[in-house]
Amino acid sequence: MKELLKVKHLHKKFGENVVLNDIDLVVNKGEVVVVIGPSGCGKSTFLRCLNGLEKVQGGVVTVDGLPVEPDKKSIIKLRQKIGMVFQSYELFPHLSVIDNLILAPTKVQKRNKEEVIREAIELLEKVNLVEKKDFFARQLSGGQKQRVAIVRALLMHPDILLFDEVTAALDPEMVHEVLQTMLNLAKSGSTMIIVTHEMNFARAIADRILFFDKGEIVEQTDDVKAFFEKPKTKRAQRFLSTFSYS
């Protein structure tokens, strides 16, 4: 198995406030890692450190052997290998769906425009949005916007995809369509790191679970089923119990 993403002794502080404390992680190619944990535990910040949106105070992140360094020129190339999808979709409001999709592949990667459009249409077909290609973000529902955002990330042909609570702002029905899209991606062998509060989804998609609390990885396991039935640590037990009612 090929190691794609490596995190070593990652430290992140906001002022005096320690957000991530000595995080280590290795993600192999094709693996789906799901990060769960209470709000404010640092999981979103963790994702943002992986593509250099946050500066870190210590440790290294490497993707494909190359270090992620926010202030260096190399970050531009590196970010093309790392797709990111945000909770609030962040489509560009002044561009149509198709222009949102082809902007970075044509301007950043300088790929042939016709080919990128063709590929964009194919991907839009897969997520049932091809008839919306000339719409603007404001004319789409949340779930549609999020699927467009996922396609936008995919079109860059990233090696790894980061999902930051991508369904947190969606209605239940829309959550389903977005999660289905992600499940299909996982099946096709994409490498993904997913931050989510959808426990059933985490269970269905994860090859590995990371449980974060207070800036640390408290529990990490490949035995996803066992984790959800009986987590080893007290903190994870307490966290999971908040999702069930009796």
Partner: protein, 224 residues
């Protein structure tokens, strides 16, 4: 009812002189507005970059422009520079310098505000796609900024057009000055000319500024 005094404009070449005056006013406005918008965009972007020295200088510049009345600036540039620097500036040039000095500051501040109003995460999602700073500004931030700027900058443009009437003070014969001349010359024959002629000047300014503000409403709706 008394005569409205518009008839004066029909005498001789009075009306075409008034139009020429209007042309002078518009020429100064057009040149000043164009330069102000272009430089204002640059200054606005500079204000959002986190360079403390640059920020400090630009802040002082903005404050200076806010504090000093345009007329004082105009006098300083037109009359003041002549002896001190031995410069013989044309009145029109002085006027354009002053209006640009003012317009760039205000436009820059509008641009800064418009850029600031774009959520940080829009920058981040663009960076996450591998864009460099230049690409992020050109493809993502500035186009959105421009849409937000339209109503604000239209307001500035119409204000600048109106304020060109100050240039009378440095001897430029623009529409208001021509109007005065016409009124003075016909004081005895048409004592009511002040109402009619200034009224026509009023309508002229209205006819120029109104379409501009309609355009802004149209663009706002189209890009909303």
């Amino acid at each position: 009812m008394q005569s409205l005094g518009i008839d004066v404009l029909l005498k001789g070449s009075n009306f075409s002189r008034l139009l020429q005056g209007l042309y002078v006013a518009l020429e100064i406005s057009f040149v000043s507005v164009t330069i102000s918008i272009l430089l204002g965009l640059i200054v606005g972007v500079l204000m959002t970059l986190k360079n403390p020295i640059l920020c400090f200088i630009l802040k002082i510049y903005l404050e200076v422009v806010r504090i000093i009345p345009q007329m004082v600036l105009l006098f300083v540039v037109y009359f003041g520079t002549t002896r001190v620097f031995g410069m013989d500036l044309l009145a029109e040039t002085s006027a354009i310098i002053v209006f640009v000095f003012w317009g760039v500051a205000e436009m820059g501040d509008l641009v800064r505000g418009a850029i600031k109003s774009i959520p940080t995460i829009q920058f981040e999602s663009a960076y996450a796609l591998g864009m460099n700073k230049f690409q992020v500004y050109v493809y993502i931030i500035l186009p959105q900024t421009l849409r937000r700027l339209i109503p604000l900058s239209i307001n500035l443009i119409t204000r600048m057009i109106k304020t060109t009437s100050l240039v009378v003070m440095v001897g430029i014969v623009e529409v208001l000055k021509v109007a005065q001349q016409i009124i003075e010359a016909n004081r005895t024959t048409s004592p009511n000319a002040a109402f009619g002629v200034f009224g026509v000047v009023f309508i002229m300014y209205f006819l120029i500024c109104w379409p501009i503000s309609r355009l802004s409403i149209y663009l706002e709706k189209r890009w909303a």
